[in-house]
């Protein structure tokens, strides 16, 4: 019962709290997810492959993963910049900007979705500016990416910010005293310790983007094969009572995200080892 010779635990509540946690986790999360895997496994290999390789499924997955990747890259750049100015510079409204960065965490996705659609529609504030140049955001794949940038931004900022705050200024000053110019200092002294946090933020933003639904569907246009995201395809299959079809797309999304995140984490781990602060 108690491994490693724990005859008795001094602090109370081990069994109670473990029991509550594991029971709730199993009932709410694990058993339902197992049902998904079971359902898609019961479809049979032939059907599974057929659904998985259908042009519509592939297009939806490509859009969801591609847009999430693009958005995460944009967020890595701008998230790092925002974290940098919040930590390093003092300017009027700094606290306000700091607070507003969390807006995507707090704002319901459907609200964000209709707001973004209104702004980027051809007659919206931004859409009207872009339209004459032939740039269409709303109802195109670009719109999907814009929504995912909105959703993912705080993940990068909030991952990088605490690390940037902890960075010792002595490192930077030492490098400057040794005669390195500013760009070289940033590139060789500041960026390496920030990279793990940046990758973490990137992965979080990416993972969130792949599965995002509410903020995307209003701006995406939802044209099959063009601007239809994978989560929407699941909803459509469900509305057609095609449970197997929905389950297969769902499992594909889970497996692909898992593989990509695992890969990034492995890269991350080997990187940390190589710079020796694992």
């Amino acid at each position: 019962m108690h491994p490693r010779g724990h005859a008795r635990r001094i602090l109370p509540g081990f069994h109670l709290s473990l029991g509550i946690t594991v029971t709730a986790l199993s009932c709410i999360v694990l058993i339902p997810l197992a049902a998904l895997v079971a359902k898609s496994a019961s479809t049979g290999v032939g059907t599974f492959v057929e659904i998985a390789t259908s042009p519509r499924t592939l297009a939806a997955l490509r859009l969801s993963f591609g847009a999430a990747l693009l958005a995460a890259m944009v967020n890595a750049v701008f998230g790092l910049l925002i974290a940098w100015i919040l930590v390093r510079y003092d300017f009027p409204g700094r606290r306000l900007v700091d607070a507003i960065v969390d807006l995507p965490f707090a704002m319901p996705t459907a609200v964000a979705g209709i707001a973004l659609a209104a702004i980027y529609a051809p007659n919206g504030i931004v859409g009207a500016v872009l339209d004459p140049y032939g740039i269409r955001v709303a109802y195109t794949p670009l719109g999907v990416a814009v929504a995912l940038v909105f959703i993912g931004l705080p993940f990068v900022v909030r991952s990088v910010q605490p690390v940037l705050e902890e960075l010792e200024s002595e490192l930077e000053e030492a490098a400057a005293l040794l005669g390195a110019n500013r760009l070289r200092v940033i590139w060789t002294v500041l960026l390496p310790p920030l990279l793990p946090a940046l990758i973490t933020g990137f992965v979080l933003a990416f993972a969130r983007g792949v599965g995002e639904y509410g903020s995307v569907i209003f701006i995406a246009g939802n044209v099959p094969l063009v601007s239809e995201i994978a989560p929407l395809l699941i909803v459509i299959r469900l509305e057609q009572f095609d449970y197997a079809g929905a389950a297969v797309v769902g499992v594909l999304m889970l497996v692909l995200s898992f593989v990509l995140i695992l890969g990034l984490n492995l890269f991350h781990a080997s990187f940390r080892r190589s710079i020796g602060n694992g």
Partner: protein
Amino acid sequence: MVDSARDRAPAARQPARGESLAVRVVLIGIALAFVSLMLVLPLLSVFTEALRKGWDVYVAAIREPDAHSAIRLTLLVAAIAVPINVVTGVAGAWVIARFEFPGRNLLVSLIDLPFSVSPVITGLVYVLLFGAQGVFGTWLAYNDVQIIFAVPGIVLATIFVTFPFVCREILPIMQAQGSADEEAALTLGAGPWWMFFTITLPNIRWGLLYGVLLCNARAMGEFGAVSVVSGRIRGLTTTMPLHIEILYNEYNSVAAFAVASLLALLALLTLLAKALLEWRYADELAATRPL
């Protein structure tokens, strides 16, 4: 997910080093432009769109019976989901922060799992489990229990989506504080529950409140998962976000934005409360250093 240790010591912010004023101004300018375009503009547009046809239309959209029942349902779902997640979140943080046991790291990952599962997949799994063709579908139909396309399904999906919030917020605080306070209470003769309510709970109160705020914001605003399991029966199983979608798809944009503005206000209040808590937090976290 939101790092609570952030900004704990505003005084620790270092003065600008290195960059010239021009570079600084340009960098701040770019960042502010990005924040304005991506975050501030959408937020403002919610309110301008909602008030586009004046105050009376706005109020009428909110007073409308379907809007009313959507608000009631949203509050009901949050009132059930949030307390459940408080109990499981506190229990999870306690067991992870205070005990060594095999599978501890796995448990941490599993508690975080809902963060990386698409909300739509969350809805899907409940449909596969409790839907008409689902694993328990026949049994539920026979016993006349409705979960999918009904309130229980909405509550379940909401609990799934918000499962990690409370635990994530209080776990780092509990770990930073260590168990000396609880051990002291026990040696002074406190019983387990006495210890919990007089020592453990007060020690995590601000983190817990913050976790509850985030959990609540997400519970009231959840769209994807709820939309799959609700069936969108107007006036019965539509929460506020679903009601917004219905209105928007009916080209009743003003009404949609009017309801959305309520949720946007909730988001703003959450951010405000968070900013205030971080003030408090600054002391609390500083106080986690041993006295």
